[in-house]
Protein backbone atom coordinates (compact mmCIF):
# COMPACT_ATOMS: atom_id res chain seq x y z
CA UNK A 1 0.00 0.00 0.00
CA UNK A 2 1.81 3.04 -1.21
CA UNK A 3 -0.75 5.65 -0.49
CA UNK A 4 0.49 7.98 2.23
CA UNK A 5 -2.69 9.16 3.86
CA UNK A 6 -1.04 11.53 6.29
CA UNK A 7 0.93 13.40 3.68
CA UNK A 8 -1.79 14.86 1.50
CA UNK A 9 -0.86 18.51 1.29
CA UNK A 10 -3.85 20.71 1.94
CA UNK A 11 -3.64 24.15 0.40
CA UNK A 12 -6.04 26.38 2.23
CA UNK A 13 -6.42 29.62 0.37
CA UNK A 14 -7.86 31.43 3.36
CA UNK A 15 -4.92 30.46 5.54
CA UNK A 16 -2.45 31.81 3.03
CA UNK A 17 -4.31 35.08 2.57
CA UNK A 18 -4.68 35.61 6.31
CA UNK A 19 -1.04 34.86 6.97
CA UNK A 20 -0.13 37.39 4.30
CA UNK A 21 -2.33 40.09 5.83
CA UNK A 22 -0.76 39.47 9.22
CA UNK A 23 2.73 39.92 7.85
CA UNK A 24 1.67 42.92 5.78
CA UNK A 25 0.19 44.65 8.82
CA UNK A 26 3.29 44.15 10.90
CA UNK A 27 5.43 45.31 8.01
CA UNK A 28 3.29 48.42 7.59
CA UNK A 29 3.79 49.35 11.21
CA UNK A 30 7.55 48.92 11.07
CA UNK A 31 7.86 50.70 7.73
CA UNK A 32 5.84 53.58 9.11
CA UNK A 33 8.12 54.02 12.03
CA UNK A 34 11.31 53.73 10.02
CA UNK A 35 9.85 55.99 7.37
CA UNK A 36 8.90 58.67 9.83
CA UNK A 37 12.20 58.64 11.65
CA UNK A 38 14.21 58.35 8.48
CA UNK A 39 12.44 61.18 6.70
CA UNK A 40 12.64 63.53 9.66
CA UNK A 41 16.31 62.86 10.25
CA UNK A 42 17.14 63.07 6.58
CA UNK A 43 15.52 66.45 6.23
CA UNK A 44 16.39 67.79 9.61
CA UNK A 45 19.84 66.64 10.55
CA UNK A 46 21.62 69.24 8.47
CA UNK A 47 19.62 72.05 9.95
CA UNK A 48 21.01 71.26 13.35
CA UNK A 49 24.10 73.38 13.67
CA UNK A 50 25.62 74.84 16.81
CA UNK A 51 24.05 78.15 15.82
CA UNK A 52 20.69 76.48 15.55
CA UNK A 53 20.90 75.06 19.01
CA UNK A 54 22.42 77.94 20.85
CA UNK A 55 21.03 81.14 19.42
CA UNK A 56 17.71 82.75 18.92
CA UNK A 57 16.26 83.50 15.51
CA UNK A 58 17.50 86.87 14.47
CA UNK A 59 16.38 88.71 11.40
CA UNK A 60 19.38 90.96 11.86
CA UNK A 61 21.93 88.21 11.41
CA UNK A 62 19.57 86.21 9.23
CA UNK A 63 20.08 83.16 11.38
CA UNK A 64 17.67 80.71 12.82
CA UNK A 65 17.99 79.49 16.35
CA UNK A 66 15.85 77.59 18.79
CA UNK A 67 17.79 78.23 21.96
CA UNK A 68 14.90 80.21 23.36
CA UNK A 69 12.53 77.36 22.70
CA UNK A 70 14.88 74.88 24.29
CA UNK A 71 15.06 77.00 27.41
CA UNK A 72 11.28 77.37 27.45
CA UNK A 73 10.83 73.63 27.12
CA UNK A 74 13.22 72.92 29.96
CA UNK A 75 11.59 75.59 32.09
CA UNK A 76 8.14 74.11 31.59
CA UNK A 77 9.37 70.60 32.27
CA UNK A 78 10.90 71.60 35.58
CA UNK A 79 7.97 73.77 36.69
CA UNK A 80 5.41 71.15 35.79
CA UNK A 81 7.28 68.36 37.52
CA UNK A 82 7.85 70.44 40.64
CA UNK A 83 4.12 70.88 40.99
CA UNK A 84 2.76 67.59 39.74
CA UNK A 85 5.20 65.11 41.24
CA UNK A 86 4.48 65.69 44.93
CA UNK A 87 0.75 65.72 44.36
CA UNK A 88 0.82 62.67 42.13
CA UNK A 89 2.95 60.69 44.55
CA UNK A 90 0.80 61.86 47.45
CA UNK A 91 -2.32 60.67 45.68
CA UNK A 92 -0.75 57.30 44.96
CA UNK A 93 0.37 56.90 48.56
CA UNK A 94 -3.09 57.72 49.81
CA UNK A 95 -4.73 55.22 47.47
CA UNK A 96 -2.24 52.51 48.20
CA UNK A 97 -1.52 52.88 51.90
CA UNK A 98 -4.27 54.78 53.59
CA UNK A 99 -7.53 54.50 51.78
CA UNK A 100 -10.05 51.83 52.56
CA UNK A 101 -11.81 50.32 49.56
CA UNK A 102 -15.16 51.94 49.07
CA UNK A 103 -17.05 54.63 47.28
CA UNK A 104 -14.45 57.29 47.99
CA UNK A 105 -11.63 55.32 46.48
CA UNK A 106 -13.61 54.41 43.38
CA UNK A 107 -14.43 58.06 42.80
CA UNK A 108 -10.76 59.02 43.08
CA UNK A 109 -9.68 56.23 40.79
CA UNK A 110 -12.44 57.06 38.31
CA UNK A 111 -11.39 60.70 38.15
CA UNK A 112 -7.73 59.74 37.69
CA UNK A 113 -8.73 57.50 34.78
CA UNK A 114 -10.91 60.27 33.37
CA UNK A 115 -8.10 62.79 33.57
CA UNK A 116 -5.92 60.40 31.65
CA UNK A 117 -8.48 60.19 28.88
CA UNK A 118 -9.14 63.90 28.36
CA UNK A 119 -7.49 65.16 25.15
CA UNK A 120 -4.88 67.86 25.51
CA UNK A 121 -6.87 70.48 23.68
CA UNK A 122 -9.49 70.44 26.42
CA UNK A 123 -6.75 70.98 28.97
CA UNK A 124 -5.60 73.85 26.78
CA UNK A 125 -9.02 75.45 26.79
CA UNK A 126 -9.38 74.98 30.52
CA UNK A 127 -5.94 76.39 31.19
CA UNK A 128 -6.63 79.37 29.03
CA UNK A 129 -9.91 80.18 30.71
CA UNK A 130 -9.06 79.29 34.30
CA UNK A 131 -5.42 80.16 34.73
CA UNK A 132 -5.18 82.65 31.90
CA UNK A 133 -8.37 84.60 32.36
CA UNK A 134 -9.90 83.94 35.76
CA UNK A 135 -6.59 83.94 37.60
CA UNK A 136 -5.35 86.63 35.25
CA UNK A 137 -2.08 84.92 34.47
CA UNK A 138 -2.40 85.48 30.75
CA UNK A 139 -0.03 83.82 28.38
CA UNK A 140 2.89 82.66 30.46
CA UNK A 141 5.13 79.73 31.18
CA UNK A 142 3.45 79.41 34.55
CA UNK A 143 0.02 79.11 32.98
CA UNK A 144 1.34 76.40 30.72
CA UNK A 145 3.05 74.59 33.56
CA UNK A 146 -0.05 74.64 35.75
CA UNK A 147 -2.13 73.27 32.89
CA UNK A 148 0.36 70.52 32.11
CA UNK A 149 0.73 69.53 35.74
CA UNK A 150 -2.95 68.62 35.88
CA UNK A 151 -2.51 66.71 32.64
CA UNK A 152 0.40 64.57 33.79
CA UNK A 153 -0.98 63.84 37.28
CA UNK A 154 -2.41 60.47 36.17
CA UNK A 155 0.95 59.39 34.75
CA UNK A 156 2.77 60.06 38.01
CA UNK A 157 -0.01 58.57 40.13
CA UNK A 158 -0.34 55.40 38.07
CA UNK A 159 3.36 54.67 37.91
CA UNK A 160 3.82 55.35 41.60
CA UNK A 161 0.90 53.06 42.40
CA UNK A 162 2.43 50.29 40.32
CA UNK A 163 5.78 50.82 42.00
CA UNK A 164 4.22 50.71 45.47
CA UNK A 165 2.45 47.47 44.55
CA UNK A 166 5.78 45.78 43.90
CA UNK A 167 7.05 46.51 47.38
CA UNK A 168 6.46 43.31 49.39
CA UNK A 169 3.95 43.58 52.21
CA UNK A 170 6.57 42.05 54.48
CA UNK A 171 8.54 45.29 54.32
CA UNK A 172 5.54 47.20 55.56
CA UNK A 173 4.62 44.82 58.33
CA UNK A 174 8.26 44.53 59.35
CA UNK A 175 8.58 48.23 59.82
CA UNK A 176 5.26 48.72 61.57
CA UNK A 177 6.02 45.75 63.74
CA UNK A 178 9.13 47.43 65.10
CA UNK A 179 7.00 50.40 66.02
CA UNK A 180 7.63 52.75 63.15
CA UNK A 181 4.83 55.13 62.39
CA UNK A 182 3.18 54.95 59.01
CA UNK A 183 4.62 58.14 57.64
CA UNK A 184 8.07 57.15 58.83
CA UNK A 185 7.73 53.78 57.22
CA UNK A 186 6.64 55.39 53.97
CA UNK A 187 9.54 57.83 54.06
CA UNK A 188 12.26 55.39 54.87
CA UNK A 189 11.15 52.13 53.33
CA UNK A 190 8.38 52.45 50.77
CA UNK A 191 9.49 55.47 48.82
CA UNK A 192 13.11 54.35 48.42
CA UNK A 193 11.98 50.90 47.27
CA UNK A 194 9.47 52.34 44.88
CA UNK A 195 11.89 54.91 43.53
CA UNK A 196 12.71 53.23 40.18
CA UNK A 197 9.02 53.04 39.34
CA UNK A 198 8.46 56.62 40.40
CA UNK A 199 11.40 57.74 38.31
CA UNK A 200 9.98 55.83 35.35
CA UNK A 201 6.75 57.73 35.80
CA UNK A 202 8.61 61.03 35.89
CA UNK A 203 10.52 60.21 32.72
CA UNK A 204 7.32 59.16 30.95
CA UNK A 205 5.78 62.45 32.07
CA UNK A 206 8.76 64.33 30.64
CA UNK A 207 8.16 62.54 27.37
CA UNK A 208 4.55 63.61 27.43
CA UNK A 209 5.44 67.21 28.28
CA UNK A 210 8.04 67.46 25.53
CA UNK A 211 5.59 66.19 22.94
CA UNK A 212 2.70 68.33 24.09
CA UNK A 213 1.45 71.12 21.88
CA UNK A 214 -2.32 71.59 21.98
CA UNK A 215 -2.39 72.26 25.69
CA UNK A 216 0.34 74.88 25.43
CA UNK A 217 -0.82 76.78 22.40
CA UNK A 218 -3.25 78.96 24.29
CA UNK A 219 -1.59 78.91 27.66
CA UNK A 220 2.11 79.34 27.33
CA UNK A 221 2.00 81.13 24.03
CA UNK A 222 4.85 81.49 21.63
CA UNK A 223 7.61 83.78 22.83
CA UNK A 224 11.06 82.67 21.79
CA UNK A 225 13.64 85.04 23.21
CA UNK A 226 16.36 84.03 25.61
CA UNK A 227 16.52 85.69 28.98
CA UNK A 228 19.51 87.98 29.13
CA UNK A 229 20.15 87.95 32.85
CA UNK A 230 19.33 86.03 35.99
CA UNK A 231 16.45 88.36 36.80
CA UNK A 232 15.08 87.92 33.33
CA UNK A 233 15.50 84.18 33.75
CA UNK A 234 13.40 84.16 36.88
CA UNK A 235 10.94 86.60 35.40
CA UNK A 236 10.47 84.34 32.43
CA UNK A 237 8.00 82.41 34.48
CA UNK A 238 5.44 85.11 33.99
CA UNK A 239 6.17 85.67 30.33
CA UNK A 240 4.92 83.82 27.37
CA UNK A 241 7.22 81.22 25.93
CA UNK A 242 6.90 78.79 23.09
CA UNK A 243 8.26 75.29 23.54
CA UNK A 244 9.92 73.29 20.80
CA UNK A 245 6.65 71.79 19.65
CA UNK A 246 4.89 75.14 19.50
CA UNK A 247 7.74 76.61 17.50
CA UNK A 248 7.55 73.64 15.16
CA UNK A 249 3.87 74.30 14.62
CA UNK A 250 4.42 77.99 13.98
CA UNK A 251 7.27 77.37 11.56
CA UNK A 252 5.11 74.82 9.80
CA UNK A 253 2.27 77.28 9.43
CA UNK A 254 4.66 79.84 8.00
CA UNK A 255 6.07 77.28 5.56
CA UNK A 256 9.54 77.49 7.10
CA UNK A 257 9.99 73.80 6.60
CA UNK A 258 13.71 73.46 7.22
CA UNK A 259 13.39 75.00 10.64
CA UNK A 260 10.45 72.72 11.27
CA UNK A 261 12.44 69.64 10.34
CA UNK A 262 15.36 70.75 12.43
CA UNK A 263 13.12 71.03 15.47
CA UNK A 264 11.47 67.73 14.58
CA UNK A 265 14.84 66.01 14.48
CA UNK A 266 15.75 67.44 17.89
CA UNK A 267 12.41 66.28 19.30
CA UNK A 268 12.91 62.78 17.92
CA UNK A 269 16.31 62.55 19.52
CA UNK A 270 14.76 63.54 22.85
CA UNK A 271 11.96 60.99 22.45
CA UNK A 272 14.45 58.26 21.58
CA UNK A 273 16.53 59.20 24.59
CA UNK A 274 13.55 59.08 26.90
CA UNK A 275 12.53 55.70 25.52
CA UNK A 276 15.99 54.27 26.14
CA UNK A 277 16.12 55.75 29.63
CA UNK A 278 12.80 54.17 30.58
CA UNK A 279 14.01 50.80 29.30
CA UNK A 280 17.24 51.02 31.28
CA UNK A 281 15.43 51.89 34.46
CA UNK A 282 12.83 49.13 34.07
CA UNK A 283 15.67 46.68 33.56
CA UNK A 284 17.28 47.87 36.77
CA UNK A 285 13.91 47.65 38.45
CA UNK A 286 13.59 44.01 37.41
CA UNK A 287 17.11 43.24 38.52
CA UNK A 288 16.58 44.87 41.87
CA UNK A 289 13.35 43.06 42.43
CA UNK A 290 14.61 39.66 41.37
CA UNK A 291 17.79 39.99 43.38
CA UNK A 292 15.76 41.00 46.42
CA UNK A 293 13.59 37.94 45.95
CA UNK A 294 16.59 35.70 45.66
CA UNK A 295 18.03 37.04 48.89
CA UNK A 296 14.69 36.69 50.62
Amino acid sequence: MNEFVLRKKKIRMSDIILTLTIYMSALTTVVLLLGIMGYVFAKGIFVITPTFLTTVTSSLHKTVGIAGNIVNTLYIIVLTLLMATPIGIGCAIYLSEYAKPGKLVSIIEFTTETLAGIPSIIFGLFGMVFFGNTLKMGYSLMTGALTLSIMILPIITRNTQEALKTVPTSYRSGAIGIGATKWYMIQTILLPSAMPGIVTGIILAIGRIVGESAALLFTAGSGFLLPASVEEFVGKVGESGGTLTIQLYLSMSKAQYDVAFGIAAVLLVIVLGINLLTKCISKRLDVNYTSKRRKG
Binding site: L33, T181, W183
Partner: protein, 312 residues
Protein backbone atom coordinates in the same frame (compact mmCIF):
# COMPACT_ATOMS: atom_id res chain seq x y z
CA UNK B 1 17.12 51.78 91.00
CA UNK B 2 16.63 54.28 88.24
CA UNK B 3 13.13 54.69 86.95
CA UNK B 4 12.91 54.26 83.24
CA UNK B 5 11.16 57.12 81.56
CA UNK B 6 7.83 55.74 80.53
CA UNK B 7 6.76 56.40 77.01
CA UNK B 8 3.04 56.46 76.95
CA UNK B 9 1.41 54.18 74.42
CA UNK B 10 -1.55 56.49 74.42
CA UNK B 11 -1.97 57.73 70.87
CA UNK B 12 -2.91 61.22 71.71
CA UNK B 13 -0.08 62.09 73.98
CA UNK B 14 2.57 61.24 71.44
CA UNK B 15 4.11 64.05 69.45
CA UNK B 16 4.71 61.62 66.62
CA UNK B 17 0.99 61.33 66.10
CA UNK B 18 0.63 64.97 65.12
CA UNK B 19 3.03 64.38 62.28
CA UNK B 20 1.19 61.20 61.40
CA UNK B 21 -2.17 62.90 61.26
CA UNK B 22 -0.80 65.77 59.22
CA UNK B 23 0.84 63.41 56.80
CA UNK B 24 -2.37 61.49 56.34
CA UNK B 25 -4.33 64.67 55.76
CA UNK B 26 -1.86 65.93 53.20
CA UNK B 27 -2.01 62.67 51.27
CA UNK B 28 -5.76 62.75 51.30
CA UNK B 29 -5.69 66.27 49.93
CA UNK B 30 -3.42 65.15 47.13
CA UNK B 31 -5.82 62.40 46.25
CA UNK B 32 -8.76 64.76 46.04
CA UNK B 33 -6.80 67.07 43.82
CA UNK B 34 -7.67 64.90 40.87
CA UNK B 35 -11.34 65.01 41.73
CA UNK B 36 -11.10 68.77 42.07
CA UNK B 37 -9.40 69.03 38.70
CA UNK B 38 -12.03 67.01 36.86
CA UNK B 39 -14.81 68.89 38.58
CA UNK B 40 -13.29 72.28 37.71
CA UNK B 41 -12.70 71.30 34.12
CA UNK B 42 -16.29 70.16 33.78
CA UNK B 43 -17.62 73.33 35.36
CA UNK B 44 -15.46 75.60 33.24
CA UNK B 45 -16.26 73.83 30.02
CA UNK B 46 -19.93 74.22 30.73
CA UNK B 47 -19.64 77.85 31.80
CA UNK B 48 -17.60 78.73 28.74
CA UNK B 49 -19.60 76.76 26.26
CA UNK B 50 -23.15 77.43 27.35
CA UNK B 51 -23.45 81.17 26.62
CA UNK B 52 -23.13 80.77 22.87
CA UNK B 53 -25.73 78.03 22.91
CA UNK B 54 -28.10 80.41 24.64
CA UNK B 55 -27.37 83.35 22.42
CA UNK B 56 -27.51 81.61 19.08
CA UNK B 57 -29.91 78.86 19.99
CA UNK B 58 -29.14 75.19 20.56
CA UNK B 59 -30.77 74.08 17.35
CA UNK B 60 -29.03 76.62 15.17
CA UNK B 61 -25.64 75.76 16.56
CA UNK B 62 -25.86 72.03 16.71
CA UNK B 63 -27.86 71.37 13.60
CA UNK B 64 -27.08 74.29 11.36
CA UNK B 65 -24.64 73.52 8.59
CA UNK B 66 -23.56 76.99 7.65
CA UNK B 67 -20.38 78.11 9.38
CA UNK B 68 -19.70 81.74 8.69
CA UNK B 69 -18.61 83.20 11.97
CA UNK B 70 -17.09 86.33 10.54
CA UNK B 71 -18.92 88.57 8.23
CA UNK B 72 -22.05 90.65 8.13
CA UNK B 73 -24.57 87.97 8.89
CA UNK B 74 -22.69 85.43 10.98
CA UNK B 75 -23.89 81.88 11.07
CA UNK B 76 -22.69 79.36 13.60
CA UNK B 77 -23.89 76.01 12.41
CA UNK B 78 -21.45 73.29 13.48
CA UNK B 79 -23.32 70.24 12.22
CA UNK B 80 -20.69 69.51 9.58
CA UNK B 81 -17.94 69.93 12.14
CA UNK B 82 -19.55 67.39 14.44
CA UNK B 83 -20.19 65.00 11.56
CA UNK B 84 -16.61 65.36 10.39
CA UNK B 85 -15.28 64.35 13.77
CA UNK B 86 -17.61 61.37 13.97
CA UNK B 87 -17.06 60.16 10.42
CA UNK B 88 -13.36 60.94 10.41
CA UNK B 89 -12.84 59.04 13.67
CA UNK B 90 -14.97 56.18 12.39
CA UNK B 91 -12.96 55.86 9.19
CA UNK B 92 -9.69 56.07 11.09
CA UNK B 93 -10.87 53.20 13.28
CA UNK B 94 -11.91 51.20 10.22
CA UNK B 95 -8.42 51.50 8.81
CA UNK B 96 -6.31 51.49 11.95
CA UNK B 97 -7.96 48.74 13.99
CA UNK B 98 -7.53 45.85 11.53
CA UNK B 99 -3.90 46.75 10.93
CA UNK B 100 -3.39 47.15 14.65
CA UNK B 101 -5.06 43.91 15.69
CA UNK B 102 -3.27 41.92 12.99
CA UNK B 103 0.05 43.40 14.09
CA UNK B 104 -0.84 42.43 17.66
CA UNK B 105 -1.50 38.89 16.42
CA UNK B 106 1.87 39.01 14.74
CA UNK B 107 3.60 39.99 17.96
CA UNK B 108 1.71 37.60 20.19
CA UNK B 109 1.54 34.50 18.03
CA UNK B 110 3.21 34.57 14.68
CA UNK B 111 6.54 36.29 15.08
CA UNK B 112 9.63 34.48 16.31
CA UNK B 113 10.69 35.90 19.68
CA UNK B 114 13.67 37.78 18.28
CA UNK B 115 11.67 39.52 15.60
CA UNK B 116 8.97 40.42 18.09
CA UNK B 117 11.52 41.98 20.43
CA UNK B 118 12.62 44.25 17.57
CA UNK B 119 9.14 45.21 16.42
CA UNK B 120 7.71 45.92 19.87
CA UNK B 121 10.10 48.77 20.77
CA UNK B 122 9.38 50.22 17.32
CA UNK B 123 5.75 50.49 18.28
CA UNK B 124 6.52 52.05 21.66
CA UNK B 125 8.61 54.61 19.82
CA UNK B 126 5.76 55.34 17.43
CA UNK B 127 3.60 56.07 20.46
CA UNK B 128 5.98 58.70 21.75
CA UNK B 129 6.31 60.80 18.62
CA UNK B 130 4.86 64.27 19.21
CA UNK B 131 1.69 64.94 17.25
CA UNK B 132 3.09 68.04 15.56
CA UNK B 133 5.63 65.86 13.79
CA UNK B 134 2.79 63.79 12.36
CA UNK B 135 1.28 67.07 11.29
CA UNK B 136 4.50 68.12 9.57
CA UNK B 137 4.84 64.88 7.68
CA UNK B 138 1.18 64.85 6.81
CA UNK B 139 1.48 68.31 5.36
CA UNK B 140 4.55 67.56 3.29
CA UNK B 141 3.93 63.97 2.24
CA UNK B 142 0.25 63.17 2.37
CA UNK B 143 -1.10 66.48 1.11
CA UNK B 144 0.92 66.46 -2.14
CA UNK B 145 -0.28 62.90 -2.84
CA UNK B 146 -3.82 63.91 -2.16
CA UNK B 147 -3.44 66.84 -4.47
CA UNK B 148 -2.21 64.64 -7.28
CA UNK B 149 -5.11 62.25 -6.77
CA UNK B 150 -7.50 65.15 -6.56
CA UNK B 151 -6.30 66.60 -9.84
CA UNK B 152 -6.80 63.27 -11.57
CA UNK B 153 -10.15 62.47 -10.07
CA UNK B 154 -11.77 65.82 -10.50
CA UNK B 155 -10.25 66.82 -13.79
CA UNK B 156 -12.47 69.26 -15.46
CA UNK B 157 -14.99 69.27 -12.70
CA UNK B 158 -16.78 72.52 -12.26
CA UNK B 159 -18.36 71.88 -8.93
CA UNK B 160 -15.41 70.61 -6.96
CA UNK B 161 -13.53 73.04 -4.81
CA UNK B 162 -9.88 72.24 -5.15
CA UNK B 163 -8.26 72.14 -1.78
CA UNK B 164 -4.60 71.82 -2.66
CA UNK B 165 -4.49 68.45 -1.05
CA UNK B 166 -5.77 68.94 2.45
CA UNK B 167 -8.88 66.89 2.90
CA UNK B 168 -10.73 64.38 5.01
CA UNK B 169 -8.88 61.32 3.73
CA UNK B 170 -5.50 62.83 4.55
CA UNK B 171 -6.63 63.47 8.08
CA UNK B 172 -8.09 59.98 8.36
CA UNK B 173 -4.79 58.44 7.29
CA UNK B 174 -2.88 60.44 9.89
CA UNK B 175 -5.39 59.53 12.61
CA UNK B 176 -5.26 55.85 11.68
CA UNK B 177 -1.48 55.87 12.06
CA UNK B 178 -1.69 57.66 15.39
CA UNK B 179 -4.03 55.16 16.99
CA UNK B 180 -1.92 52.17 15.89
CA UNK B 181 0.36 52.00 18.95
CA UNK B 182 -2.59 52.10 21.37
CA UNK B 183 -4.57 49.45 19.51
CA UNK B 184 -1.53 47.22 19.06
CA UNK B 185 -0.28 47.21 22.63
CA UNK B 186 -3.65 46.65 24.27
CA UNK B 187 -4.71 44.02 21.74
CA UNK B 188 -1.43 42.20 22.22
CA UNK B 189 -1.89 42.08 25.99
CA UNK B 190 -5.43 40.80 25.57
CA UNK B 191 -4.34 38.03 23.22
CA UNK B 192 -1.59 37.00 25.60
CA UNK B 193 -4.06 36.95 28.46
CA UNK B 194 -6.41 34.31 27.08
CA UNK B 195 -6.42 30.93 28.89
CA UNK B 196 -3.47 28.80 27.83
CA UNK B 197 -5.46 25.69 27.04
CA UNK B 198 -7.36 27.23 24.14
CA UNK B 199 -4.56 26.92 21.63
CA UNK B 200 -3.64 23.23 22.25
CA UNK B 201 -7.32 22.26 22.35
CA UNK B 202 -7.87 23.75 18.94
CA UNK B 203 -4.70 22.30 17.44
CA UNK B 204 -5.52 18.85 18.81
CA UNK B 205 -8.71 18.90 16.76
CA UNK B 206 -6.70 19.32 13.59
CA UNK B 207 -6.93 23.09 13.17
CA UNK B 208 -4.10 25.02 11.57
CA UNK B 209 -2.40 27.82 13.46
CA UNK B 210 -4.22 30.46 11.44
CA UNK B 211 -7.58 28.82 12.02
CA UNK B 212 -6.80 28.68 15.74
CA UNK B 213 -5.89 32.37 15.81
CA UNK B 214 -8.97 33.61 14.03
CA UNK B 215 -11.59 31.16 15.25
CA UNK B 216 -10.56 30.75 18.87
CA UNK B 217 -7.90 33.17 20.07
CA UNK B 218 -9.18 36.47 18.75
CA UNK B 219 -12.79 35.76 19.83
CA UNK B 220 -11.47 34.86 23.26
CA UNK B 221 -9.64 38.20 23.45
CA UNK B 222 -12.71 40.07 22.31
CA UNK B 223 -13.27 42.25 25.36
CA UNK B 224 -9.68 43.45 25.45
CA UNK B 225 -9.73 44.25 21.77
CA UNK B 226 -12.92 46.24 22.18
CA UNK B 227 -11.25 48.18 24.99
CA UNK B 228 -8.39 48.91 22.61
CA UNK B 229 -10.84 50.18 20.02
CA UNK B 230 -12.60 52.47 22.49
CA UNK B 231 -9.26 53.90 23.61
CA UNK B 232 -8.38 54.40 19.96
CA UNK B 233 -11.61 56.30 19.44
CA UNK B 234 -10.80 58.54 22.39
CA UNK B 235 -7.37 59.26 20.97
CA UNK B 236 -8.60 59.95 17.46
CA UNK B 237 -11.46 62.19 18.38
CA UNK B 238 -9.25 64.35 20.59
CA UNK B 239 -6.39 64.80 18.16
CA UNK B 240 -5.85 68.39 17.05
CA UNK B 241 -2.34 69.37 16.05
CA UNK B 242 -1.57 66.42 13.86
CA UNK B 243 -4.48 66.99 11.54
CA UNK B 244 -5.00 70.74 11.66
CA UNK B 245 -2.96 71.47 8.56
CA UNK B 246 -3.82 68.22 6.81
CA UNK B 247 -7.56 68.34 7.03
CA UNK B 248 -8.21 71.69 5.45
CA UNK B 249 -9.33 75.13 6.39
CA UNK B 250 -13.01 75.37 5.74
CA UNK B 251 -16.11 73.74 7.06
CA UNK B 252 -17.68 71.40 4.58
CA UNK B 253 -19.65 68.20 4.54
CA UNK B 254 -17.40 65.28 5.43
CA UNK B 255 -16.80 63.95 1.95
CA UNK B 256 -13.44 62.32 1.27
CA UNK B 257 -11.93 65.03 -0.87
CA UNK B 258 -13.46 68.01 0.83
CA UNK B 259 -11.55 70.43 2.92
CA UNK B 260 -13.01 69.88 6.35
CA UNK B 261 -12.84 70.98 9.94
CA UNK B 262 -12.93 68.66 12.90
CA UNK B 263 -14.17 69.73 16.31
CA UNK B 264 -10.54 69.92 17.40
CA UNK B 265 -9.07 71.64 14.38
CA UNK B 266 -11.83 74.24 14.38
CA UNK B 267 -10.79 75.30 17.87
CA UNK B 268 -7.07 75.27 17.13
CA UNK B 269 -7.33 77.15 13.87
CA UNK B 270 -9.69 79.90 14.88
CA UNK B 271 -9.11 80.49 18.57
CA UNK B 272 -6.11 82.62 17.80
CA UNK B 273 -8.11 85.39 16.21
CA UNK B 274 -11.71 84.81 17.21
CA UNK B 275 -13.54 87.48 19.17
CA UNK B 276 -16.79 87.83 21.07
CA UNK B 277 -19.54 85.50 19.93
CA UNK B 278 -17.28 83.66 17.53
CA UNK B 279 -14.95 82.89 20.41
CA UNK B 280 -17.81 81.76 22.57
CA UNK B 281 -19.03 79.37 19.92
CA UNK B 282 -15.55 77.88 19.77
CA UNK B 283 -15.93 77.13 23.46
CA UNK B 284 -19.23 75.50 22.68
CA UNK B 285 -17.39 73.28 20.25
CA UNK B 286 -15.02 72.48 23.09
CA UNK B 287 -17.98 71.59 25.27
CA UNK B 288 -19.36 69.23 22.65
CA UNK B 289 -15.97 67.58 22.35
CA UNK B 290 -15.80 67.29 26.11
CA UNK B 291 -19.23 65.67 26.17
CA UNK B 292 -18.17 63.11 23.56
CA UNK B 293 -15.05 62.29 25.54
CA UNK B 294 -16.96 61.82 28.78
CA UNK B 295 -19.38 59.47 27.05
CA UNK B 296 -16.48 57.47 25.63
CA UNK B 297 -14.83 57.34 29.06
CA UNK B 298 -18.03 56.06 30.65
CA UNK B 299 -18.35 53.35 28.01
CA UNK B 300 -14.73 52.44 28.64
CA UNK B 301 -15.10 52.08 32.41
CA UNK B 302 -18.22 49.96 31.94
CA UNK B 303 -16.31 47.76 29.52
CA UNK B 304 -13.35 47.40 31.87
CA UNK B 305 -15.63 46.42 34.74
CA UNK B 306 -17.52 43.80 32.76
CA UNK B 307 -14.35 42.62 31.07
CA UNK B 308 -12.83 41.93 34.46
CA UNK B 309 -15.90 40.00 35.52
CA UNK B 310 -15.78 37.80 32.43
CA UNK B 311 -12.47 36.28 33.34
CA UNK B 312 -13.60 35.03 36.71
Amino acid sequence: MKEKKKTSINKHSNSKSVIEKTAQRIFMLCAFFGVLAVASITVYMIISGAPALMKVGVGDVLFGHLWKPTGKDPSFGILYVILTSIIGTGLAILIGVPIGVLTAVFLAEVAPKKLASVVRPAIELLAGIPSVIYGLLGLLIINPWMYKIELKLFQGSETHQFTGGSNLIGAVIVLAIMILPTVISISESSIRAIPEYLKPSSLALGATRIQTIFRVMIPAAKSGIITAIVLGVGRAIGEAMAISLVSGSSVNAPLPFNSVRFLTTAIVSEMGYATDLHRQVLFTIGLILFAFIMIINLILSKLLKSGGADHE
